[in-house]
Amino acid sequence: MADLVWLIPAFPLAGFLLILLFGRRLGDPVAGYLATTMVFASFVSAVLVYFDLQSMPTEDRETVVTLFSWVPVGTFQVDLAFLADPLSITMCLFVTGIGGLIHMFAVGYMHGDAKFSKFFLYLNLFVFSMTLLVLGENLLVTFLGWEGVGTCSYLLIAFWHTRESAATAGKKAFVTNRVGDWGVMLAMFLAFSAVGSLSYSVLNESAETGELAASTASAIALLLLIGATGKSAQLPLYLWLPDAMEGPTPVSALIHAATMVTGGVFLLTRINPVIAVSYDWVPTTIAWIGAITALFAATIALAQNDIKKVLAYSTVSQIGYMMLAVGTGGYVAAIFHMVTHAAFKALMFLGAGSVIHGMHEEQDMRKMGALRKFMPITAGTFIIGWLAIAGVPPFSGFWSKDEILLFALADSTPLYVLGIITAILTAFYMTRQVIMVFFGEARWTSLANDDEAPEVADGEEPAETHNAHGEFKPHESPPIMWIPLVVLAGLAAVGGLLNLPKLFGIPNGISYELEHWLEPVIEFGEADISATWAYDNKYVLVAIAVAAALSGIALAWLVYQKKRIKPWEPSVFANGWYYDAAVSWFMGKPGREGFQLVTDFDAKIVDGAVNGVGVAVTATATEARKGQTGYVRQYAGIIGIGVVLLLGWFVVIRGLL
């Protein structure tokens, strides 16, 4: 049964090929349904595999399915093989599950788009790549998926490529990811040179048995971390994610919230034994990167007005949490949060999409407000997502975030403090968003026809703009769009069940499900915190967490709803600490000039030298030519000189001397 794991990628691939061949003929919306079916099909097969694994004894819940030998050269043998184990299947489940829902939503959202079928072509290709990424039995297959999702994300971000910003964003995403990939590739080289194989089993086993030198392990871990920061949009490479919002909203939901961006976290989890045996400062680095990114992104999110940008930065921030968890050895917590986050962030993105749809491509929250009357379902579901991410019990986010904070405290207090602050900020900016969009007075009527519309305006399709202005009512989205919302809302609400802690007398039977399930994969790397102070005082932490969440919400409520406090949105936040600006400036100015310098060097110096030789020869020849004066007597003279020289050589040098 588990041998059928190859079906999981097979379905999306089939979908991709079918749409590639017949996409134009199927058209809108059939192509969309086809794609959706395919993804759900692969979800079903994932479920089947899941139950199959469940049925096995814990220790051998690991099946490798080898399709064919991919790159075999000498000792370097890489197969195109899938690894079905708790971790990969967990990933598959929510990738395909949530992916399916998003496909479904997209059918409605993309309705009427000229390139409808192409959109689903890309989406299916993406799901295929993503499943490869998570199912890969070795680093190379994972890398295949890794780059695959990167490429698809490029294609999808730049989907509306006639828009300059979209095209640029796509390119930015790809190139930034490439920087990370550089790390991944080097990690692979190192892994191969160290253990002579790229398969996870060999690599991890060598780590577990101590074959792997700590130095090598650290190097591998750090290099993979570079890759992770690229793919999972962490500092310093997070830059591409906010721009990626140029893509259609379902894309943002699928790629830039639920699935792809978690790739980095997944990869690090996958090789947790390697991290475990590497020097102590390696995981610490990971943790700090995570924590700082989380806080950093949260602050930026405070001041965003684009409904999607807020979510984008919040995504960066949430993944920061996951990295924090990884760094502190809380792999389960990381995966747990990954899953819950996938649910509620996808929900919120789709919600945002629905709002944008209802508002006719309006993305500026300052032009919204009071929408709950017009799109109740969207509003309701969005609010559930909000509570979940804010960490309000009993919604899913609360549980996973709490778990992470626990590990953070167990590792070091500063990390925990950062985590808590981030939690407060998260609650704050999410509340702000909810209020700006769904509560307060309706600003879209008043602002409908003035032109202080910020950056998004230039992106709007002319026709839509015409729509957006003048009298119009925001409307609820069609069922095909809100059904996924409802489902996701459900997940976001109850997601916590996956891994309930042993608190409030929750019985053993249903607590730490996920942990037990993932145990075979992460037991080696998972930190044991049972002995720590934090572990003994979970209740305190819970209290603090809840307090943080509520205080954040309350504060935001006062500021934006009750208008008691003047909103504080410094431009340094709005502009993301000018980090992006700085980098862009560097690339644009010195970087570009440097490149130009090299190019000029090539044209002027190197090529110049080549042509110079030619010129020199010709010039000298033209001069020498003048020696041939045509005067016979001078010729005789030249010959005479020749004679004298020869005589000199023979008589003097060879004869007399």
Binding site: G614, V617, T618, T620, A621, T622, A624, R625, Q628, G630, V632, Y635, A636, I638, I639, I641, G642, V643, L646, L647, W649, F650, V651, R654, G655, L656
Partner: protein, 504 residues
């Protein structure tokens, strides 16, 4: 002691062995006499006769080749002439040259007062001179041969009376030629003083005993210097090349081709005779000079060629750089001079000579055809768009140019390969590399001509080009030879390899 006249017996004269020269001589006389006695012969008959005579001589030479391979080499007429494959190889080369040039000249002379037997007679006589140079075993004989060839060439160069350039080239060639041969003669005198003989074989034996290191050494060395001047002038080695561009450009094109083929071949043969065969015991003295001459000749010839605008002049300079290449071969030969196995130098040289002879005649034949239709204009512009006007002609010229550039599958490559190989085998890497690098410079000039032919559009008002039959035959033959030898050179190489067994 006094020789008694009544007991005087002349040297034994190998009439058969001399038959090629005698054929040419007889042919000349017949041609002149009949030509003088009979009215103007019909179209092309002079050329045909000339070609036949030369052909006969060539065939005889081949016959003797066999004789030599069977019965070995010797010297004739009191040691005046060497009877060996070296001379035969050059005889054949020269005869081929005469045949082709005669064919080319026919149409060229048609309609001019020169369309009589004299020009052809001069070709034949010059050929005799060349053969004598190539097979002389006595410096005096060699000098006479050289003068025969030279005088004929002086006249031929000046033979186009309507062209001031022709006259100028004639006078220049004559003055400088006389100047140079005076040096040559004086050199002979000095060597004679040092060795007590002008006979090359005797010279070798006299020197083998070793002239006393102090005195005659100096005399001999001075003599060698002047001999090299004379030969260097004939082969157009820098700085004795000064006459070449002017004369080649000014002389009637077929004559130019004759100079570049027969003249060069004979001169280099003479150089081999005098230096490699005659003065092996001074090889350490003159080899560096040859090295230097080769270097400057290569560089000057190639680099001056690329700035020319007149095709004839370009080819003149290119012939100078070719001379440089052949000198590389001579330098290689110098290493083995006098040894039982003289090494690959001499074969490389003679191989180069025959291949280049055909190449250069072919090239100039095409120049002749083009000039015929461009009112005598041989500047690069006259070749614009030749590919459009006469594709096959352009193709043929391309073949010749590529061959001169040393592109594989042409005889030119084999020739260059031969000399470079010879040089490398005696460890003269430096000159070999320089030669190859310089070849690149020269290639630029050939490319220039090709580009003009293939990519430029014909100058407006360019009338279609007519290729006369005789010249056409010559060109086709030359192309065929160039390509065939380029693909299957084995037989020719084998033949060339035998020249190392020269008459001692």
């Amino acid at each position: 002691m006094l020789q008694q006249l009544d007991t005087f017996v002349g040297p034994e004269i190998g009439w058969f062995a001399l038959s090629p020269m005698l054929t040419l001589l007889g042919g000349t006389l017949v041609l002149m006499l009949l030509g003088a006695l009979t009215p103007k012969w019909p179209k092309g008959l002079y050329a045909l006769a000339t070609a036949t005579i030369a052909g006969a001589a060539g065939v005889l030479a081949m016959v003797q080749w066999d004789d030599i391979t069977d019965n070995g080499t010797t010297t004739l007429v009191g040691g005046a002439i060497a009877y060996d494959t070296l001379s035969m190889f050059l005889t054949i080369t020269i005869c081929i040259g005469v045949i082709l040039v005669a064919l080319v000249s026919d149409e060229y002379l048609r309609g001019t007062p020169n369309d009589g037997p004299e020009v052809y007679a001069l070709y034949l006589v010059a050929a005799i001179g060349g053969i004598v140079m190539a097979s002389a075993n006595d410096l005096i004989v060699l000098f006479l041969g050289l003068e025969t060839l030279s005088l004929a060439l002086y006249v031929l160069a000046a033979s186009n009376r309507r062209s001031s350039e022709s006259a100028e080239s004639g006078i220049k060639y004559f003055v400088l030629g006389g100047f140079a041969s005076a040096f040559f003669l004086y050199g002979i005198a000095l060597v004679y003083g040092a060795t007590g003989t002008t006979n090359i074989s005797e010279m070798v034996s006299a020197l083998r005993g070793g002239v006393d290191p102090f005195g005659n050494e100096a005399l001999a060395l001075a003599g060698i210097a002047l001999l090299i001047v004379g030969l260097g002038f004939k082969v157009a080695a820098v700085p004795f090349h000064v006459w070449t561009p002017d004369v080649y450009q000014g002389a009637p094109t077929p004559v130019t081709s004759f100079m570049a083929s027969v003249g060069k071949a004979a001169a280099f043969a003479a150089m081999l005779r005098v230096l490699v065969i005659g003065l092996p015991f001074y090889r350490d003295d003159w080899r560096p000079i040859i090295w230097g001459l080769a270097l400057v000749t290569l560089v000057v010839g190639s680099s001056l060629a690329i700035v020319q605008s007149n095709v004839k002049r370009m080819l003149a300079y290119s012939s100078i750089s070719h001379a440089g290449f052949i000198l590389v071969g001579v330098e290689a030969a110098a290493h083995g001079a006098g040894e039982a196995d003289p090494g690959p130098g001499m074969p490389a040289v003679v191989l180069y000579l025959i291949l280049y002879a055909v190449l250069v005649i072919g090239s100039f034949a095409i120049v002749t055809v083009v000039a015929r239709n461009s009112g005598g204009d041989t500047s690069l512009d006259a070749f614009k768009g030749l590919a459009r006007r006469r594709p096959m002609l352009a193709l043929a010229f391309t073949v010749f140019l590529l061959a001169q550039a040393g592109v594989p599958f042409t005889s030119g490559f084999i020739a260059k390969f031969g000399v470079i190989q010879a040089a490398v085998e005696v460890d003269s890497y430096a000159i070999a590399i320089i030669a190859m690098v310089v070849a690149v410079i020269a290639a630029f000039m050939y490319l220039r001509i090709m580009v003009t032919m293939w990519t430029a559009d014909p100058a407006d008002g360019a009338q279609p080009i007519v290729v006369p039959v005789s010249i056409g035959v010559a060109i086709v033959a030359a192309v065929a030879f160039t390509l065939v030898v380029g693909v299957v050179p084995g037989w020719l190489i084998d033949a060339a390899d035998t020249v190392t067994a020269y008459a001692r």
